[in-house]
Every structure is written in structure tokens, then in C-alpha cells.
């Protein structure tokens, strides 16, 4: 059935009046800009808040890696989710940020950690947050509620980080005997590939009485990450709101 004449006219008028914005060249240049600014911002925020636990397999432990990486890694995806949903009604912000982050990391690990300082890629691979980012966006799209997305999305983001990265880390958790001690293969990598200015005493892994929890420690860390992710999610929302959306049309008055 054809569109009523009045609707057709109205649609034509809207198209005519928005013809500048509808030019696809704006889209191309905008997408280019968004990709690079998100890679840059997501990567620098993440690397300087939790990067050490993501650079090397021997830092990817059961105490700090599943806590620091998802909690700090949620800030920019949350901000971008807010921006994309508020300004464009697109439920893709978190996924885009997580994909951009992993692209930036892989480019770096390949060309710099591997290509410059000669570490093997299986020692410096980055973790991923893409599956939980998709979940976060889908929950926002279904619920259209920041509160429900916080309760379900942000908590699953922290809770499932270990699960989504298990296929990547599993081979490096295999126990081996090394110099009379039982270590993981990741520990052995750390001893074999020397980092002169990252001595063993500044490696922050499995500290204190953590192992007193015996077989519950992964669960304990995952639940802690889920809870702290609430705060991290809202911090990202705050950045998206205050620094990206509110300044539209705001001016500092000239005296």
C-alpha cells in the first residue's frame, strides 16, 4: 500500500530541509572522528588506571586483574553509551568503546610490545570486554532505563569478566614445576622474558590472605567487581553528561 500523499509531502519537506545534514560525507567524516577519539580516550584512560594487569600474562591473576580491568574499563564505555543513547538514540556506545579499546590495544601490542621490545604476543595479549559490552547495550535497549542498566548491565559487566576471558587465560594458568616450585605458565613467562624496570617486587598479584578463601576466590573477586562496577558505570555516565552533552549550547559569558 502506498504512503498517503500528505505523508509523502511531509517526508519530502523534512528531507529537503535536512538535506545538508543528510549528506553522507558528514557521516563519513564523523565516523572517522568518533573511531579515533574513542580509541584514544578509551585506551589512555584504561591503560593508566589498570593497564599493568592487562599488559602481561603474569599480571593477569585471580585477585586484581578481574577487579581492576572491568571496573576501570567500564568508565569510557559507560560515557559513550550515555552520549550515543542521549544524542543519537543508538544502543551501541558501550560496544563501540569496547571494540575501539581492543583495536587500540592490539595495534599497540603488535607494533610496540612485540615489534619494538620483542615480547611474544602470547605474553602481551589484551583481555576483552566486548561480550559484556554487547550485553550492556542490549539491556539499555530493552529497558530504556539507566537504573535497570546499572543493576543488571553494570553488575554483569563485572561478574562475567572472568568468564569472557577464560578461553584466553586458561592455557596460562596451567601449573608447572619450575626450580622446585609450583608456578603457573604465566609466571614462567614472566621469569623468562625480563623487564628490567618492572622488577618482581612491584608485581601486584594475589596478595595478602587472598588464598585463605581457597576455591571461592574467583567468585569473591567477580562479585566485588560487579558491585564496584555500579560506581564505575555512574562515573562514566557523569562524564558523558557533564563533559559531552551538557556543554552543547553552553557559553561562558563575556564580561
Amino acid at each position: 500500500m502506498g504512503m498517503p500523499e500528505q505523508a509523502q509531502k511531509s517526508q519530502q519537506l523534512v528531507r529537503q530541509r535536512s538535506r545538508f545534514l543528510l549528506d553522507r560525507r558528514y557521516d563519513a567524516i564523523f565516523v572517522f572522528g568518533v573511531l579515533f577519539i574513542v580509541i584514544g580516550a578509551a585506551h589512555v584512560v584504561f591503560m593508566l588506571l589498570a593497564g599493568d594487569w592487562d599488559f602481561w600474562t603474569d599480571w593477569k591473576d585471580r585477585q586484581w586483574w578481574p577487579l581492576m580491568v572491568p571496573v576501570m574499563g567500564l568508565i569510557v564505555p559507560s560515557a559513550l553509551q550515555y552520549i550515543a543513547w542521549t544524542l543519537l538514540r543508538l544502543p551501541i556506545g558501550a560496544t563501540l568503546a569496547a571494540v575501539c579499546l581492543v583495536i587500540g590495544e592490539w595495534v599497540n601490542r603488535f607494533f610496540n610490545f612485540h615489534g619494538w621490545t620483542d615480547f611474544p604476543l602470547n605474553f602481551v595479549w589484551p583481555s576483552t570486554m566486548v561480550p559484556t559490552a554487547i550485553l550492556l547495550d542490549v539491556i539499555l535497549m530493552w529497558t530504556n532505563s539507566w537504573l535497570l542498566t546499572t543493576l543488571f548491565g553494570a553488575s554483569l559487566w563485572g561478574l562475567l569478566f572472568g568468564v569472557e576471558n577464560m578461553p584466553l587465560i586458561a592455557p596460562f594458568r596451567i601449573p608447572v614445576e619450575y626450580g622446585g616450585y609450583v608456578l603457573s605458565t604465566a609466571d614462567v613467562q614472566g621469569f623468562q622474558y625480563l623487564r628490567t624496570t618492572t622488577p618482581e617486587y612491584i608485581r601486584i598479584v594475589e596478595q595478602g590472605n587472598f588464598r585463605a578463601f581457597l576455591q571461592q576466590f574467583s567468585t569473591v573477586t567477580a562479585v566485588a567487581a560487579a558491585v564496584i562496577s555500579f560506581a564505575s558505570y555512574w562515573f562514566g555516565q557523569l562524564i558523558g553528561r557533564v563533559l559531552a552533552v551538557l556543554p552543547i549550547g553552553k557559553f561562558m559569558k563575556q564580561t
Partner: protein, 260 residues
């Protein structure tokens, strides 16, 4: 000035003028992006060749030849680019722009923003994490290491240069969009972001000379200033938002389109 193409001549007068502006913006984007990519790729190749061979000991004469010299080359090159580029970019149009031409100006603003984002990629992602690869591997004996020479004194000033280019273009060509009611908060945040990133380099070096010494723990409080400043880059979405809003207004005020 080059003669308009046949395709452009066939368009109505306003659209032909717009098309010229749009093509000029696309050329700026392509040339700028390729230039930035080639310049930083060349610096990366330079690191590959001379970092381990001449960049391990800052007291070595070879260090001064290859790395201290590069520092000055970067500063001089960026200064030359600014001196040659800014006046050309700020050249004001003689007449008030029509809606069609103004939409082309906005395209050029977005082209400049796109070039800025590419420098941010090199500044905040590529060379920033590369700094971790270098400093967690090699002992530092100077603040001007091979990774810092490119990151702090090449990529950081390049981000300032491209951000200021965007600002100056908006100031000269789109003052009624961005400056009619005062100084736009979005630009204030972005300029503050790039300048504060550069300023934090001093804090970073002080931190490495004191509390953490030459050892490298990347998620250290001494680096958190870079994070806070990077948050300010989010204001780029406000600049896009304000100019997209203006594009809609221009479409509504375009009498030629209504008549058609």
C-alpha cells in the same frame, strides 16, 4: 583559483558554491589524515632504527645526535606548520556566507576535528602505551627518552596544534555559531584538555624522579593527571552536536531549497 568542474557548473549557483566548499573540506581531511599518518609512521620507523642502537645512554654523543636533535626537529617542524597554516586557515570570507556555503564551512570544521582525533590516537593510544613497552623494559637515565621524545614532544604538541587549528577556524568562519553568546564551554574544555595534558608531563617527570624513580608501574597516581585531562576530550561531542544543530537550522533557512 581552479575552474569549476562541469559537474559543479550544472548545479544551481548556491549548490555549486557549496559543492566547492565540500570538496575543499574533503581534500583537507584526506591530506591532513595522510600527512599525520605518514609523519607519525616515519617517527615510529626512526625509533625502530635508532632507539636500541643510540637511545640507551643519554651521556653517549650518539644520543645527542639522534635523539636530542630529533627533539628540536619536532619543535621547529611544528612551529613552521603553525606559522604557515594558521593565517591561511583564518583567512576570513569577504561576504556573509549563504546557508549552502556555511554548511561547507561546517564540513571543514569536522575535517579539522577528524585530523585532531587522528593526532589523539597517536598521542593517547599508540605512543602512550608504547611508552609502557619501552620503560618497563629499558632503564631510563633522562626525561627525554626515545619514547618520550616522540610522545611528549611530538604527539602532544601536535594535538595542541590541531586543536588550536579547529578553534581558530571556528572563531574566524563560524563565530555566529560558536561565539555569539560568549566563549563556548565545549571549546574551553577541549583546549584545556590538550594544554593540561602537555602540562602534566612536568608532573610526570617529577613523579618519576622522586616517588617512583626509574621503575615503571603504569597505573600509578603520577599518571592519573593524564586520565583526568583525557576526560575533557569528551567535549568534542558537544562541538559535533552544536554544529549538527546548526546544519538543521541552515536547512530550514535555505530559501532556495524551499522554492525547489
Amino acid at each position: 583559483m581552479s575552474a569549476p568542474s562541469q559537474a559543479t557548473e550544472a548545479l544551481p549557483k548556491g549548490d555549486a558554491a557549496r559543492e566547492r566548499e565540500m570538496k575543499s573540506a574533503m581534500r583537507l581531511w584526506a591530506f591532513g589524515a595522510v600527512f599525520v599518518a605518514i609523519a607519525f609512521s616515519a617517527l615510529r620507523v626512526y625509533q625502530q632504527v635508532f632507539a636500541f642502537s643510540a637511545g640507551m645512554d643519554s651521556t653517549d654523543p650518539a644520543y645527542k645526535k639522534y635523539w636530542t636533535m630529533l627533539l628540536f626537529v619536532e619543535f621547529i617542524a611544528l612551529a613552521i606548520i603553525a606559522v604557515l597554516w594558521y593565517p591561511r586557515l583564518m583567512k576570513k570570507p569577504k561576504e556573509a556566507p549563504t546557508p549552502q556555503i556555511e554548511s561547507g564551512y561546517i564540513m571543514k570544521l569536522w575535517a579539522l576535528l577528524a585530523i585532531f582525533t587522528l593526532t589523539v590516537f597517536f598521542q593517547a593510544s599508540f605512543f602512550a602505551e608504547q611508552d609502557a613497552a619501552w620503560h618497563q623494559t629499558v632503564v631510563r637515565d633522562t626525561a627525554f627518552t626515545p619514547s618520550h621524545t616522540v610522545l611528549f614532544y611530538g604527539a602532544f604538541p601536535a594535538a595542541i596544534l590541531t586543536m588550536l587549528a579547529t578553534f581558530l577556524y571556528a572563531r574566524s568562519h563560524l563565530p555566529h555559531v560558536f561565539f555569539s553568546r560568549g566563549f563556548p564551554v565545549a571549546f574551553a574544555l577541549m583546549i584545556a584538555g590538550v594544554v593540561a595534558e602537555m602540562s602534566w608531563v612536568a608532573m610526570n617527570e617529577w613523579w618519576h624522579s622522586g616517588p617512583y624513580g626509574t621503575e615503571e608501574f603504569f597505573s600509578t597516581p603520577g599518571h592519573w593527571g593524564f586520565v583526568t585531562n583525557a576526560f575533557l576530550y569528551a567535549a568534542i561531542f558537544s562541538v559535533w552536536g552544536m554544529s549538527a544543530k546548526r546544519l538543521i537550522e541552515l536547512g530550514r533557512s535555505d530559501k532556495e531549497a524551499d522554492a525547489a
